[in-house]
Symmetry: C2
């Protein structure tokens, strides 16, 4: 970008938002050159911290006048480069818009600014008997705005659905800087733009305010840790449980590689020779749970489960979840860099895809370990590497691509919850026919006419 344009842009941003809300020094910008997907990097020209929807709209208008891209960013936990400022321009940080504006239990909703942390909302709701259902593994860091941008899921997606199932309304800034209030609460009339906005990764609009549905806390839980000798028997158990008409709150799978990493980091006492662990959680009214649990245990045993452990106390339950949610953290023990993939297949194809992931890793000489929201058919193979080894990075990219293509071949998709970002944009043409992509492009042009919001994300150029 021409230096004169950048200087004018920064001057204008500072004038409107105040000097303290605009970063432009090289040393400051470098922090924003990538997100949780570290393989691609690009530096923005400016980073701004608006504090209201109006300020976001102003930033979009200023960026439009300078013809530069605008990329929204929450906590930057995207694993697909969703916050990568491709082409430079302005990164709009929503982290200072972090007020919980309303909690209304009788109407089962809360109103939050986009920068509110998922965990912050969870804490604010503690004791009310309600919660916000989407609980990504990055729950402690990620923002609700980010959850909306990627239509985030999490372990409890199996029973409770993804973010779009819990969004009642949005306030957004469109590509031309106009502000829309969409469907707050009881507004299902007209064309429902909520669905297309949720998961659009900032390519249609910047979300500033969110009306979320609250879900009553289950009365009770039964949380099981089931150990299997083979990946096959674990994934067959998953499929059998659903086939039986039981929808657990969560069914999480961890493979031997993850078990080893967790064990090394935290000493949970996992058997190191087991090929798979399932964490299965049932929830609902207390009284019905034991029978359901027994059914699940029986199915697991029939599939050859070696050991079934039930969390006896709330604390033990927390511990089981901690070991699952700490998996990402423990990976640092295995490798200096890693890339978490996000494929999804019909759950009956789980045994197949898990076998293929092992084979693909081997063929590309990449070490792969697996966590999965198995109940959803959502696999998260983690590819371990050293980012200083360029040749290895190439092999990681090729292996990632191969395994996502295998997901497509199974009737699945290249993302269940992380989004397309910049990482998977080339795969979109394998996943969709050209008329489908063209229809999406038309809709994008309708809401983001200049194409300056989130360029190079989600939709490949024709």
């Amino acid at each position: 970008m021409a230096v004169s344009v950048v200087l004018s842009l920064i001057k204008e941003l500072r004038r409107t938002l105040g000097r303290e809300n605009v970063l432009s020094a090289h040393s400051e910008l470098v922090v924003y050159e990538c997100d949780g997907y570290t393989i691609e990097k690009n530096r923005p020209d400016a980073v701004v911290f608006p504090q209201s929807t109006e300020q976001v709209a102003t930033v979009v208008r200023i960026a439009n006048e300078h013809n530069v891209p605008v990329v929204a960013r929450g906590a930057g936990t995207s694993l697909a480069g969703g916050c990568l400022p491709l082409g430079g321009g302005v990164v709009v940080m929503l982290t200072r818009m972090r007020r919980i504006l309303q909690v209304d239990l009788r109407n089962r909703l809360a109103v939050v600014e986009a920068g509110v942390l998922n965990l912050q909302l969870a804490r604010a709701l503690a004791g009310t008997g309600y919660h916000f259902a989407p609980d990504p593994s990055s729950q402690g860091a990620c923002t609700i705005g980010g959850n909306v941008a990627t239509n985030a899921g999490g372990p409890h997606t199996l029973k409770y659905g993804v973010t779009v199932n819990h969004v009642l309304g949005l306030e957004v800034v469109l590509g031309d800087g106009s502000v829309l209030a969409l469907g707050p609460v009881h507004n299902p009339a007209g064309l429902d733009l909520l669905g297309v906005l949720v998961g659009s990764e900032g390519t249609l609009a910047i979300v500033t305010k969110i009306w979320v549905r609250l879900t009553p806390n289950p009365q009770d839980y039964r949380t099981l840790r089931v150990i299997f000798d083979t990946l096959d028997s674990a994934s067959n158990a998953v499929s059998d449980i659903i086939g039986e008409g039981i929808i657990p709150a969560a069914m999480e799978l961890m493979d031997r590689g993850i078990i080893g990493a967790l064990e090394e980091a935290y000493q949970f006492g996992f058997p190191l020779d087991a090929e798979a662990i399932l964490v299965i959680e049932l929830d609902g009214p207390s009284a019905g749970l034991d029978r359901q649990k027994e059914q699940v245990v029986e199915i697991c045993r029939r599939q050859g489960a070696r050991e079934v452990l039930q969390a006896a106390t709330a604390q033990e339950r927390q511990m089981l979840w901690k070991c699952r949610k700490a998996a990402a953290g423990a990976l640092g023990r295995l490798s200096s860099s890693y890339c978490t993939q996000d494929g999804v297949v019909p759950r009956t194809r789980l045994p197949h895809i898990l076998r293929r992931i092992v084979e693909i890793g081997r063929a590309h000489r990449v070490r792969v370990v697996n966590v999965a929201h198995a109940g959803d058919g959502n696999v998260h193979p983690v590819l371990l590497f050293d980012e200083r080894d360029k040749e290895e990075v190439h092999r990681v990219l090729a292996a990632g691509r191969a395994l996502l293509e295998e997901c497509i071949a199974c009737g699945g998709s290249v993302t269940a919850e992380h989004g397309i970002g910049v990482e998977k944009i080339e795969l979109m043409t394998s996943l969709f026919a050209e008329p489908d992509l063209e229809a999406m492009r038309h809709v994008r042009s309708a809401m983001n006419p200049g194409g300056r919001l989130g360029p190079g994300k989600v939709l490949p150029s024709p």
Copy 2:
């Protein structure tokens, strides 16, 4: 429309679909001049019965060549004129596309053609342990395609959500005749156009095939009929139950007028002096249900319930539901014509809106009786009239408008499940700001470029 255009249109349609699949005689067309909303009528130029997506696409292309509107129609149960062929043109009947293509329990989905009846799918799933959750009161007649077009709800929406929460994929024909397959099953990547298509009332595309999510049947039910002396106490009970963190499967309200009509028609044994009846259904694993039921009963008693009756057998439960679902049929006892409105308010405003409905009816000298999906804050005032009395029809329209405006003033909306159709299009400008409508129009143009799909529906002209 010029006679020559109509003749050429019909000739071309007959040539492509076969003579037996095209209606064009006046006596045949008159059947299609309105749907369940009988206040406005208009005759189409032709009615066609395609049997495949390709045939639908062909019809759209032929209509485009003749520059005439295309209106999709299922069973014609719309209560808002959603199937009214405004401006004439071609009505595309989807009722011969009625095959259930697949039932896949392990992946919890079914694939159906748009013309499959809601009840037909329910029957096909009997004994599998799964069901399709949306259950509009018109369940016995309405099609799944119609459910998608209006994003239909029903009594069990309270716990299970509306149609969009149960649609996994769509095959659609866009306004230019191109065919899209959107998101079958595991395709959440890209811009999710499902959300905006569901509920778009045929103004973006014609839906031909639907992948629906299947929901496990609850293990057990507790179904209560609770009689209240006042509407206020009934609606306060609804609000208190939700406030307590209990989400019943359904909470349906019927007022004195409906009770009288039902009693006259079917002799269920309702007390004629009660002002309100709630039908409350709890579902889930058997064992937990009784405690929850006791909580609900206690809340109802606290609000002054006169009588609480529990269905003791599956048959009694069916009977309680029959009396609720038969309400529309019983209305014929009260009046030769009626118009069912569809307002929605935050459920805490239920007592207010029910009082206001009575006042508005009185002010416009229109007899109004009420059924409501009370748990959702969704009221269905039924305005009774004689369609031969033009002056009365005017008063009915004015009263309907007044009560929907009251819903907007309460922070609610003019439709929860019936859609905008032609009936409420003028209210859209009260409900939405101009930039919101403009954004919707942009999206409509993106998918329905010539504007020939469902003209005059949903979005008012700028």
